[in-house]
């Protein structure tokens, strides 16, 4: 298969990633090159094998859902816009 600049535009929209028109063809070439290369995987003998998501198959460590430390000042210090304990975003409704 071959991805077109239009496909890259659709992927970028899914990823909420702006891509200039001039870059669409470049990324299409790069991603196609990668996708062609990884296509060797289709021939791998994986019938009957369960997918492995992580090499550490021990159960995940869980901890009590308790707030240990919280500093609202530090929490908001890296935000461009905030007010009254809320992050500000452009109006959505």
């Amino acid at each position: 298969m071959s991805l077109t600049p239009k496909d890259i535009k659709a992927l970028a929209r899914l990823a909420r990633l702006g891509v200039d028109k001039s870059e669409l063809e470049l990324f299409a070439n790069d991603v196609n090159r990668i996708v062609d290369w990884v296509s060797i995987l289709k021939a791998a003998p994986t019938q009957g094998l369960a997918p492995l998501a992580t090499p550490n198959e021990e159960p995940c460590t869980l901890r009590p859902d308790v707030v240990e430390t919280s500093s609202s000042e530090r929490r908001f210090n890296n935000a461009q816009r905030y007010q009254d304990g809320f992050f500000l975003v452009p109006q959505v409704i």
């Binding site: 990668i34 990884v38 995987l41 890296n78």
Partner: protein, 495 residues
């Protein structure tokens, strides 16, 4: 009684710790030597992206002299969150970001008496093999400034190689500790996946990312590992069980009158990798030299067939890109990170902030990851890559039933010229020998062997999961027989 040691900056961490604890050196005077080297060389070398205030470093150094890390300056890779210094991950996206908390490895280092001296340069979001950071500047290889330092932990490896710190932290998703260690002639250790906590390490590919040290010796790596490797309830993938200390094994080896650690060790090797078309013949020759030395000390080598490794690199790039596209979705321009000017609406804020904040390799991986996770392609790519991961793990399990460790080259070539490689797949092929350990979660170390034409070469030892001590001990046994790990580039010999 204080003594003068020539070339203090070239001494391994554990030697410096011993000398400070024995009060033969003062912690602050040793630290001052490293600070002066950083000041003299960082503007050319670009190992560091941020530096702590020298007066504060010296003050803490003196206070911590009796602690395990003896007040020595330790560099943190710039993807470990620190409250004291910015954490940028080498990206415009996080320029100026001040973390509200410290990563667990940063806390553990401080508790052990290490002093944060600076944050090291890296490929953006740890995606790359060169540390040619486009936004903050490329790291120069201390052995030859026209060559790359490797990546993604290029700043950490270069800082240790140039004797600007005795140890730096790093992270390894597909070889990012071992490959730059090999290119810079230092020792880099990737512990078993799930050992050192990932809390506060900016995530690239969560099922592959593992923190670890870069230092001059395997002994230094073992000493540091024991101090920072601990269960952590804040990282759900950090193993709960109590760790076995590695350093006592190293100390016992040092006490032996006749080193015999290679005796009764069976080491696997991969003839198909040694016949790989991309392998520089000199690296193959160095592999044979390393094998011969280990055999002369009593090790038995056994050829291995791991057919699934043919698929490892491609499977890795699917899994890593998929996880990256998910992990990096947190950079939305709202709570932290770069925000675009005058957004028209919320979607415009997201898309333009991410467009302006991320570099091209990060965008390429986000797009690739989004593709392999998308409807219609998920089973063919992502799920198939996960099945191959199972195949690879099974192959390693079988191999380790008959060998203790596996020896391979760390990289197919020596450090390449800056700007030489631009094709993404060609860059990815650099990681061919390091990636399998990440897919299977194995501990692996890169240690320096004889250089070639002034450029360092690294060999890699991989072990079974949680056999970190055995990996470190065998690399230490090699370093007890050789001096390559003590070679340093001619950076600031006059200082």
């Amino acid at each position: 009684m204080p003594i003068t040691i020539v070339d203090i900056h070239k001494q391994p961490l554990t030697t410096l710790v011993d000398l400070i604890h024995q009060q033969k050196l003062q912690a602050s005077e040793v630290t001052d030597i490293f600070l002066r080297r950083i000041k003299a060389f960082n503007s050319d070398n670009k190992s560091f992206l941020a530096l702590a205030e020298p007066a504060q470093v010296l003050e803490k150094s003196a206070l911590n002299a009796k602690l395990p890390l003896a007040g020595l300056p330790i560099a943190q890779k710039d993807l470990f969150c620190t409250q004291q210094l910015p954490t940028t991950c080498g990206s415009k996206m996080l320029e100026g970001f001040m973390s509200p908390f410290d990563a667990d490895i940063v806390c553990a280092t401080a508790e052990a008496g290490g002093v944060l001296v600076g944050k090291t340069n890296m490929d953006e979001f740890a995606m790359g093999s060169t540390s040619e950071n486009l936004y903050f500047g490329a790291v120069a290889n201390p052995w030859n400034p026209d060559r790359v330092a490797g990546g993604s932990s290029g700043g950490s490896a270069a800082a240790v190689a140039a004797s600007m710190v005795p140890l730096a932290t790093a992270s390894d998703t597909g070889g990012s500790i071992r490959q730059p260690a090999a290119f810079c002639g230092v020792t880099g250790f990737k512990p078993t996946y799930g050992s050192i906590s990932r809390w506060g390490m900016v995530a690239y590919a969560s099922s592959l990312d593992q923190a670890g040290p870069i230092a001059r010796t395997a002994q230094d790596c073992a000493y540091y590992l024991d101090l920072v490797n601990r269960p952590d309830s804040k990282d759900s993938t950090c193993a709960k069980h109590t760790r076995t200390a590695s350093y006592p094994t190293i100390q016992a080896m040092n006490a032996e009158t006749k080193p015999q650690y290679f005796n009764n060790k069976t080491i696997g090797f991969l003839p198909t990798w040694l016949a790989h078309e991309g392998l520089d013949p000199i690296i193959g020759q160095r592999f044979n030299d390393t094998k011969a030395l280990m055999e002369s000390q009593g090790a038995v080598f056994k050829p291995l067939e791991l057919p699934s490794l043919f698929y490892a690199l491609a499977a890795y790039y699917i899994l890593a890109s998929a996880e990256a596209s998910s992990n990096l979705s947190r950079f939305d321009g709202i709570r932290f990170g770069h925000q675009c000017q005058n957004p028209k609406n919320l979607v415009d804020l997201y898309t333009r902030s991410r467009q302006e904040g991320f570099g091209s390799e990060v965008k390429r991986r986000i797009l690739t990851g989004t593709f392999v996770l998308s409807e219609g392609f998920f089973d063919a790519y992502y799920k198939q890559a996960q099945k191959i991961r199972r195949l690879i793990k099974n192959d390693f399990d079988k191999a380790f039933a008959s060998v203790d460790l596996i020896l391979t080259p760390t990289t197919p070539t020596t450090a390449f010229t800056t700007g030489q490689v631009s094709d993404p797949v060609e860059v990815y092929l650099q990681d061919i020998f390091t990636i399998p350990a990440n897919l299977a979660g194995l501990p692996a170390i890169s240690f320096p062997v004889e250089p070639h034409q002034g450029l360092p070469i690294g060999m890699q030892l991989m072990g079974q999961r949680w056999q970190d001590t055995q990996v470190l001990a065998l690399a230490h046994a090699y370093q007890m027989q050789t001096q390559w790990h003590l070679a340093t580039p001619e950076v600031g010999e006059a200082l």
